[in-house]
Amino acid sequence: HTITLPKPEISGPGLQMSLIRGTDLFGYIGIEAVLDQMRSKTMKAGFEFNIMVVGQSGLGKSTLVNTLFKSKVSRKSCTPNYEEKISKTVKLQTVSHVIEENGVKMKLTVIDTPGFGDQINNDNCWEPIVKYVNEQYEKYLREELHINRKRVIPDSRVHCCIYFLPATGHRLRPIDVEFMKRLGKIVSIVPVIAKADTLTIEERQEFKERIRQDLVDNGIHVYPQKEYDEDPEERILNNSIRESIPFAVVGTDKEHQVNGNKVLGRKTNWGIIEVENVAHCEFANLRDLLIRSHLQDLKDVTHNIHYETYRVRRLNESNMNFSEPGPLTMSVF
């Protein structure tokens, strides 16, 4: 039978584009096999994911990260002589692991911030963190600007920053507002309510509403940001996520028997808090967001938006000083 081509649209000087739908093809071509090719290539290459945890000591950061990745990935669990000392300044420490699931390898780096918010005087405690994030962008930028570039640029940029809010039940505190304002501009922040087993369901709902209100009042943008929704489907999905942040989480690495099944939970004298039960806490939602559905999106947002913002700013800075060739331009030319 004849193929009727639709009217060609002129989309540029001398360029003719026509749309051929899949059902109009003569036979099977095999374009969709490219998805498999992509899958096998990425499986071979592996993924990188860098996650930063920020919050006062005692809020359960290490436990939560261990629970998320179902293995002992936190710094506490890896260092042999780990001491629970309160450090005098905020020092960032990174720990990297390679974990594998069904043939997919992931290099996971957990960046810990001990000492944040623990001092008596917490003025400017976010500065070491801001400096670290910008340093990673700078490293990547330099690699990108090299004449002879590596095939794969090592990516140490922070893809996601989980900020732990203590479950006071009231509102955001000054330190929370200051930190999220500054870091929301350069990295994707995911706020969570830590140790949420201290709030009843109503208290939890009220707390979340108040926090969302505070975030709007202070102009803080947390992940997923409204401006970066690409299509209506994504918007619907992200809207439902935005309605329920910050997630109220409980973390544990112990298993108990409940109704004949082994579940992860915290055992108390009045019941067992099942970590993966959505009626109890929102850990499962957080895990799905971070790992199962939005992991690649987090990386994309970091690369396409935060990194690009940094790059534009940095290149403009060095362009403005024509007389003194900055270190950037020197390396380029």
């Binding site: 006062q56 005692g58 008596i120 005087n121 479950a167 006071t168 087993d197 019941g271 009626a279």
Partner: protein, 435 residues
């Protein structure tokens, strides 16, 4: 006539109580029948009931940690509390007084809460308002005590009897803010640390946490309130309770039905935390210890230990001493008199000094003025002389001018005369010619 009983006679015939230092020895007597003064404690109690009791609790803790809820739960009422914001620029204290009554005992309870504690970015001065508040209450009591006309039995004692310090349930250790604050307060008030929101810690974690907290307190030299062990009726229960410090508490004013009863509890999807269940939290222990068993001891400790320390420091600061320069006991009265004299002498000296200074200043001013006057006078004279000189000069000039004028007029007159003469001579000649 006085009769003395020798020591040796006493030692053999009368069983003595062990002689205590500084106590005047009194020999024990046995009674032949019932006298009736065994009702003295009852009389005391009845009097106290009429007067009513006073108890002041200070609650220190971060915003949102559950201080108000715990107070409501402890006293089974609803104190009107409003939520405070996290954005207070400084720590403030809010005191509220309530009159409670249970059977025939009236209690005037004052609950003081910190507002904004732990919220600021810079918490270095956070403990200061609390210390100031406690000192202020001691100060007003001291003032009342030192008044000439005083009414101590009517005085509303506002000194802080117990301080509940709320520790956040991190499960690890105390925060540095906690240690610093408690260290500043341990010599001023009875500190009872409690672990707040204890339903977030599991049993094993709680045990480790309590041990860690107590060891940190000991290693930093913080003295918390220990339940007293000297009274046998309560020594046993107090010893066990001392071992459970700090108490891990949960507060709730809502009731949930458990079994067939309504109990105070918090309802979660995974279970119900009952406030008064000893397996769930230490709330009952806290209520026992704070109110039922040791309230009176807390008040006594505040008065005899903390208040006395404050009083001693304050009076020593003002310069009072209990012993004079030769180490002889000096009463407050004498010291006060001596101080007063000293003060008056000082005052007199100052007054004299001021007077002297004033006189000197006046003299100086006077001489200055005289000097100025002389100066002016001199100038006046000078000007006068100048004026006279000029006048003389002008006179001279005038005289010369006059002379000139007169000589000129003489010469003119002479010239005129000559002219007139020559004219008449010419006229005469003409006349002669004509003839």
């Amino acid at each position: 006539m006085k009769t003395f009983v020798s020591e040796s006679w006493l030692n053999t015939h009368v069983t003595q109580l062990p002689r205590q230092k500084n106590q005047t020895w009194a020999r024990p007597l046995s009674l032949a029948g019932h006298v009736g003064f065994d009702s003295l404690p009852d009389q005391l109690v009845n009097k106290s009931i009429c007067q009513g009791f006073c108890f002041n609790i200070l609650c220190i803790g971060e915003t949102g940690i559950g201080k108000s809820t715990l107070m409501d739960t402890l006293f089974n009422t609803n104190f009107e509390n409003f939520e405070s914001s996290h954005f207070e620029p400084q720590v403030k204290l809010r005191a509220q007084t309530y009159d409670l009554q249970e059977s025939n005992v009236r209690l005037r309870l004052t609950v003081v809460n910190t507002v904004g504690f732990g919220d600021q970015m810079n918490k270095q001065e956070s403990y200061q308002p609390v210390v100031d508040y406690i000192d202020r209450q001691f100060e007003s009591y001291l003032q009342e005590e030192l008044k000439i006309k005083r009414s101590l039995h009517n005085y509303h004692d506002s000194r802080v009897h117990a301080c509940l310090y709320f520790i956040s349930p991190s499960g690890h250790s105390l925060k540095s803010l906690d240690l610093v604050t408690m260290k500043k307060l341990d010599s001023k008030v009875n500190i009872i640390p409690v672990i707040a929101k204890a339903d977030t810690i599991s049993k094993s974690e709680l045990h480790k946490f309590k041990i860690k907290i107590m060891s940190e307190l000991v290693s930093n030299g913080v003295q918390i309130y220990q339940f007293p062990l000297d009274d046998e009726t309560v020594a046993k229960v107090n010893t066990t309770m001392n071992g459970h410090l700090p108490f891990a508490v949960v507060g709730s004013t809502e009731e949930v039905s458990v079994g067939n009863k309504m109990v105070k509890a918090r309802q979660y999807p995974w279970g119900v935390v009952q406030v008064e269940n000893e397996n769930h939290c230490d709330f009952v222990k806290l209520r026992e210890m704070l109110i039922c068993v040791n309230m009176e001891d807390l008040r006594e400790q505040t008065h005899t230990r903390h208040y006395e320390l404050y009083r001693r420091c304050k009076l020593e600061e003002m310069g009072f001493k209990d012993t004079g320069p030769e180490c002889k006991p000096v009463s407050l009265q004498q010291t006060y008199e001596a101080k007063r004299q000293e003060f008056l002498v000082e005052l007199q000296k100052r007054e004299d000094e001021m007077r002297q200074m004033f006189v000197q200043r006046v003299k100086e001013k006077e001489s200055e003025l005289k000097e100025a006057e002389r100066d002016l006078q001199g100038r006046f004279e000078q000007l006068k002389r100048l004026h006279a000189d000029e006048k003389a000069a002008l006179e001279e000039k005038k005289r010369l001018l006059d002379d000139d004028q007169s000589s000129f007029s003489k010469r003119r007159a002479a010239a005129q005369l000559l002219q007139a003469q020559s004219l008449t001579a010419n006229g005469k000649k003409d006349k002669d010619r004509k003839k």
